[in-house]
C-alpha cells in the first residue's frame, strides 16, 4: 500500500464515487434544469415582448433591447440551487451506513464532508452551463463579450457553493435527507425577494427594502451588469462579494455542524 494517503487523494476518490452516484441517477438532475429552463422560456415569452426590443426609447428599456440577457441571471441563480443536493448526498451516506464505514477507516473526516460539497459545486457548473447554452441559443449576448459567460459562471459557482454549504449544515443537523431537502425552500424567498423581473429602482415599499438586504439581489445585479450593461465594476464586485461571503458563511456553518456531528458520542 502507498504510504502517502493524502487528504487530496482521499477527496478525489470520494468525489469520484459521488459523481458516479450522480451519473447513475440522471433523472434526479432533470427537475432543476427543467425549472431553470422553464423560467427562462416563460419569462422571456411573457415579458420579452414588453421589455425587449419594443421597449427601446421608453422608461421600460432596462434590458437594453435584449430581455434574454436581462432574465438569464434569474435562471442561472435558479440553476445554482442544485448545489443544495450536497446535503442530501451526505445524509444519504449517513443513513446508509457508508459514512460510518469511512469513519472506521483512517480517512480524513474533512475529505468525507468536503466531497459532497465539491460534487454540489460541479453540479452547479453543469446546470448553470447548460442554462447558458440554452440562453445563447435563444439570443443571449453578454455586453462584456464572451468572457461574460465565464464571469457569470464564476458567480454562479460561488453562489451554488453557498447553497451546498447550507444544505450540508441543514442535513447533518437534521440527520435526514428530508431535512436537507426541506432546507432548499430558502431558495424561493431568496429568489423572489429580489429584483427578479425588473430593476431594483422599479421595486417599491417592503419589497424594495427586503431586496436591499437580500444577497441574491447583488448576485443578480452583477450578472445583469455583465450581460446587459458592460463593465460596471462596483456592481460586479458587489456580486462577487455577496456570493463569496454567502459561500464562506455557509461553508463555515457546514464545517462547524459537521464537526459536531462527527464527534464521538
Amino acid at each position: 500500500m502507498e504510504s502517502n494517503r493524502t487528504f487530496l487523494t482521499q477527496l478525489q476518490i470520494l468525489t469520484k464515487r459521488l459523481l458516479l452516484r450522480v451519473i447513475r441517477r440522471p433523472l434526479a438532475e432533470l427537475p432543476n434544469i427543467f425549472i431553470s429552463a422553464f423560467f427562462l422560456f416563460v419569462y422571456d415569452g411573457a415579458l420579452g415582448g414588453v421589455f425587449g426590443g419594443s421597449a427601446q426609447g421608453t422608461p421600460f428599456d432596462f434590458a437594453n433591447g435584449n430581455f434574454v440577457n436581462f432574465i438569464l441571471p434569474v435562471s442561472i441563480v435558479s440553476a445554482s440551487v442544485s448545489g443544495g443536493a450536497s446535503g442530501i448526498y451526505l445524509v444519504e451516506d449517513i443513513e446508509s451506513g457508508v459514512f460510518k464505514r469511512y469513519q472506521s477507516m483512517p480517512i480524513s473526516k474533512w475529505a468525507i464532508i468536503l466531497a459532497p460539497m465539491l460534487v454540489g459545486a460541479l453540479r452547479v457548473l453543469l446546470q448553470a452551463g447548460l442554462i447558458m447554452v440554452i440562453g445563447k441559443i435563444i439570443g443571449a449576448d453578454p455586453a462584456v463579450g464572451a468572457v461574460g459567460y465565464f464571469m457569470v459562471l464564476s458567480i454562479a459557482f460561488l453562489w451554488g457553493m453557498g447553497f451546498a454549504g447550507y444544505s450540508v449544515a441543514a442535513g447533518v443537523r437534521s440527520g435526514s435527507s428530508q431535512g436537507a431537502q426541506a432546507a432548499s425552500f430558502l431558495f424561493f424567498p431568496a429568489l423572489f425577494l429580489a429584483p427578479t423581473f425588473v430593476p431594483r429602482e422599479a421595486l417599491r415599499g417592503w419589497l424594495a427594502t427586503a431586496s436591499a438586504y437580500n444577497p441574491t439581489t447583488y448576485v443578480i445585479e452583477a450578472m445583469r451588469a455583465i450581460m446587459v450593461d458592460g463593465w460596471i465594476n462596483d456592481i460586479i464586485f458587489k456580486g462577487f462579494i455577496a456570493a463569496g461571503s454567502f459561500a464562506a458563511l455557509t461553508l463555515t456553518f457546514a464545517v462547524l455542524s459537521a464537526r459536531k456531528a462527527t464527534e464521538k458520542a
Partner: protein, 325 residues
C-alpha cells in the same frame, strides 16, 4: 500479545431527558486467531461494545486495547489494524461491487493497478466475481453481507469486527457466511462477532461471552458454558397452570417456561422415576418428561432468566432458583 483486551469498559449516553447506561461493565480478552462471540439479545450492549472497540464511540470508563494499542488514545493506529462490518451494511447501492472494492482499495492507499488486482482477489474470495459489474441494489441480502465482509477485508486486517453478520439471512446464506468466517480464522484473522443466534455462537465461536443488560454474565467455550450449569436438564410438561403451581412446591430448583418446568441435575435420566413418583403422589399430572444434555439455550436461560430466541418476556422462576450471575 492479546488481540483484544477489554477491562471494565462502560458506556453512558446522556441526553437532556435521561441517562442510559448502555454498557455497565464489560471485560473480556481475545487471543489472536480465535473467533470470539458476544451473545445477547437486542439492547444488551453488544453493538455499543463493538462501536467502542472500533473507535466509533468513546469509552465512558475503563480501558480497551487492540494488539496492545489503546483504543481511546491511538484511534488511527487501531483503525489500521481492524476491519469492521457493522449491522447496517455501509454499502452504496448505486455502485457495482467492483467499483466499491476499487474505491475502498484506493482509500486504503493501494495504487490503481494494485487496487484492480486486489479487487479481483476479493471478488473471488467472497464469491461475487459473476455479479461484479451489477449494481449492488440488485443483490440479495446474502450477497450484500458477503460484499460487506469483503470490503472490511480490503487491507488484510489482523482483527475483524462483525456486528450481527447474519441477521436477516436465510439459513443457506448464513451457512455460506459461517464457512467464510471460519476460513478467515484459519488464515490467522481474529474475529470478534456479535450475534443473537445461539446456534451461530455455538457453531462459530471458539469462546463466547454472554452479555445481558450491559454486563458479561458468563464467558467460556461453548462446552465450558454448558458444563457450568452441571448435569442434565430434565423438562417436565404440564397440562394446567394448577399443576405447575403445585409442581413448583416439589421441584423447588426448577425454572418455568410457559407450561414447562426445567430442572438441572446430575445423571438426569436415573432421577426421572423418583421425581415422577413424588409428583404423582402430590396429585400432579405430568404430560411428558425428558432428560437432555444442556444446550447453550439452557445456559442462557440459567444465567439471564429468559430465553434468547422466541419469548421476549423474562421467565418466571421458582423463588429458590439460583441465578448464575
Amino acid at each position: 500479545m492479546l488481540a483484544v483486551d477489554v477491562k471494565n469498559i462502560k458506556k453512558t449516553f446522556t441526553s437532556k431527558q435521561d441517562t442510559v447506561e448502555a454498557v455497565k461493565d464489560v471485560s473480556f480478552q481475545v487471543k489472536q486467531g480465535e473467533i470470539f462471540g458476544l451473545l445477547g439479545p437486542n439492547g444488551a450492549g453488544k453493538s455499543t461494545t463493538i462501536l467502542m472497540l472500533t473507535t466509533l464511540l468513546s469509552i465512558t470508563d475503563g480501558k480497551a486495547s487492540i494488539l496492545g494499542i489503546d483504543v481511546e488514545t491511538q484511534e488511527k493506529q487501531v483503525r489500521e489494524k481492524i476491519g469492521v462490518a457493522l449491522q447496517d451494511t455501509g454499502i452504496d447501492n448505486l455502485l457495482t461491487s467492483k467499483e466499491l472494492f476499487f474505491t475502498t482499495c484506493r482509500l486504503w492507499g493501494y495504487n490503481k493497478s494494485d487496487s484492480e488486482k486486489r479487487t479481483e482477489e476479493l471478488l473471488e474470495l467472497v464469491g461475487l466475481t459473476e455479479a461484479a459489474d451489477r449494481r449492488v441494489k440488485t443483490y440479495s441480502g446474502g450477497m450484500k453481507r458477503r460484499l460487506d465482509l469483503g470490503l472490511s477485508l480490503v487491507h488484510s486486517p489482523e482483527i475483524l469486527f462483525l456486528d450481527e453478520p447474519t441477521t436477516g439471512l436465510d439459513p443457506g446464506s448464513r451457512r455460506v457466511l459461517w464457512d467464510e468466517i471460519k476460513r478467515l480464522r484459519d488464515t490467522g484473522v481474529t474475529v470478534i462477532l456479535t450475534t443473537q443466534y445461539l446456534e451461530e455462537a455455538d457453531e462459530l465461536a471458539d469462546r463466547i461471552a454472554i452479555i445481558d443488560e450491559g454486563l458479561v454474565v458468563a464467558e467460556g467455550t461453548s462446552d465450558e458454558l454448558k458444563a457450568s450449569i452441571g448435569g442434565d436438564v430434565i423438562t417436565f410438561l404440564f397440562e394446567t397452570e394448577e399443576d405447575i403451581i403445585k409442581a413448583q412446591q416439589v421441584l423447588t430448583d426448577s425454572v418455568q417456561e410457559k407450561m414447562e418446568l426445567r430442572i438441572t441435575v446430575e445423571d438426569g435420566a436415573s432421577k426421572i422415576p423418583g421425581y415422577l413418583k413424588e409428583l404423582t403422589s402430590a396429585g400432579i399430572e405430568v404430560s411428558s418428561v425428558s432428560a437432555s444434555k444442556p444446550t447453550l439455550d439452557d445456559v442462557f436461560l440459567e444465567v439471564t432468566g429468559y430465553r434468547l430466541e422466541g419469548s421476549e418476556e423474562p421467565v418466571e422462576e421458582t423463588p429458590t432458583t439460583t441465578r448464575g450471575r
